[in-house]
Symmetry: C2
Subunit: 117 residues, 2 copies
DNA sequence: CCGTATCCATGACGATACTG
DNA sequence: CAGTATCGTCATGGATACGG
């Protein structure tokens, strides 16, 4: 397998809680997944379509991560073919709400910026 | 040399505002800088000390980025040697407050998680 | 339909040395 | 003090092919 040669690149110092919490949403497409689940359940392919540009690999990756972190839940039904969908957990919904505030302020920031090349 | 074939790495699709806003805080140490400025002005070396593990290069990088985004402000006084310090802009402070909420929820998420190795 | 596996280009970041 | 310049490495994630 892979040999660890020099340990790590980023030994988590993270004395500030923000740093820790950012890890929840770090990585490409992570925020998008949360965002597109805010209105209700979506199945894999729906998300794949919603989030234009994401690959199946990354989508799976992010879904697993978010599931593990307790932000979303994976639900299955044994039909034929079996169906799978994802929803935000209650806490995930709260997270989404709090993020909406951040988005709001972020948009104000863009307006604040001086337009300069 | 290296052949560039396709050049495109990430053509910002970002139809969701969250994606856009995450870019504000993306990258290592970005969140930390904001966090450590929340209590007032800090000069370069203070931040370098606060944020243990950050290199001068990255700190400069992040400070420039955040300044450009309107989150922080760079202030100088022409003493000898000249002094420089950084503060959150008003909107930057709001951002910081909104992030505090996210942190709060993120911490609840950690408690929700099933403990498994 | 819902993924998993592999391959490798890109760039983010750490280390280090240098400057006004 | 407050940076800038350069280099090397590793992790991220896109492309592609395959499996249940």
């Amino acid at each position: 397998m892979v040999k660890r040669r020099k340990s790590k690149v980023l030994p988590p110092p993270s004395r500030c809680p923000l740093h820790q919490c950012m890890r929840l949403l770090s990585g490409a497409w992570t925020a998008d997944v949360v965002w597109y689940l805010r209105e209700g359940k979506r199945c894999f392919t729906e998300l794949e379509t919603d989030i234009e540009g994401v690959s199946a690999k990354m989508l799976t990756n992010r879904l697993r991560k978010l599931e593990h972190d307790g932000v979303i839940e994976r639900c299955t039904k044994r039909t034929s073919p079996p169906t799978v969908w994802y929803v935000l957990t209650p806490v995930g919904q709260e997270l989404c709400g709090a993020l909406a505030n951040v988005v709001d302020i972020a948009q104000r920031l863009k307006r604040t910026q001086v337009t300069r090349p």
